[in-house]
Symmetry: C2
Amino acid sequence: MGEVVKMTEAVSVSDATLRSFMGYHVKRAMSVLQADLNATLKPFGLRMVTYSALVMIVDNPGMRQTQLADALAIERPNLVVILDQLEERGLISRDKVPTDRRAYALNPTEQGRALCAEATDANRADEDRLLAGLSKEQRAAVIAAMNLIEQGGEA
Amino acid sequence: MGEVVKMTEAVSVSDATLRSFMGYHVKRAMSVLQADLNATLKPFGLRMVTYSALVMIVDNPGMRQTQLADALAIERPNLVVILDQLEERGLISRDKVPTDRRAYALNPTEQGRALCAEATDANRADEDRLLAGLSKEQRAAVIAAMNLIEQGGEA
């Protein structure tokens, strides 16, 4: 170990190697997007994951728990906690399916639909603010790149 | 509640509303990037966060724990666990700072430098594969957009 020069002085810090990876840039941006979104959702009593679940149920009334778990790539036990929260607040209901005794259909309540619409408007305004410096073309280019990465990982 | 139509049939699921947010696309891509990277790092006994810490220490010998926590936006107690792991494996050392009795300087060992170089090569190959469909210009555009988002959140 004697050959390694041990520095003991504070140095200015560089993350140049990490910045050479696209993944690092995406991660840093994601942290900001997530913090920003959670701050926007807080007045609605929602977090990113509970909002995502609520939107999916509003957009897909009658969907099954397994479909929601697949769509959001959430583990089943974690999803149960999220659905419990949404149900306790009267935002969704879990309804028995006559044709399948083990399945429950997820449905939004009127209150759930209304809160979801308000939260979506707030998120839209928030994201527009955060992306104000990007042209429509740039936004489309980023989304295309993200989709390519998303699909590449599954190949 | 009577006005809400309750669906009890399984339906095909749409995430169109979520897809109208850039943040959702970034999150889906990030999940793939992270899973991919963690799979690549596994043979080295590293995860995304332990690799990031190791790279930073290799690039910035003598850096302080507080500097590393700031650079990676990791909470101090979580960082301690990560540094313990790296030190136990003989990849880094924590050296006393003569001028500051409370501070420790983080230094890579030779073994740590070697493993870091190997892991960086593997990550580079992995990311190049995942981003093969993107031109150099597209990659630069995505990074510029991510940096803009990162800075926008701090404003």
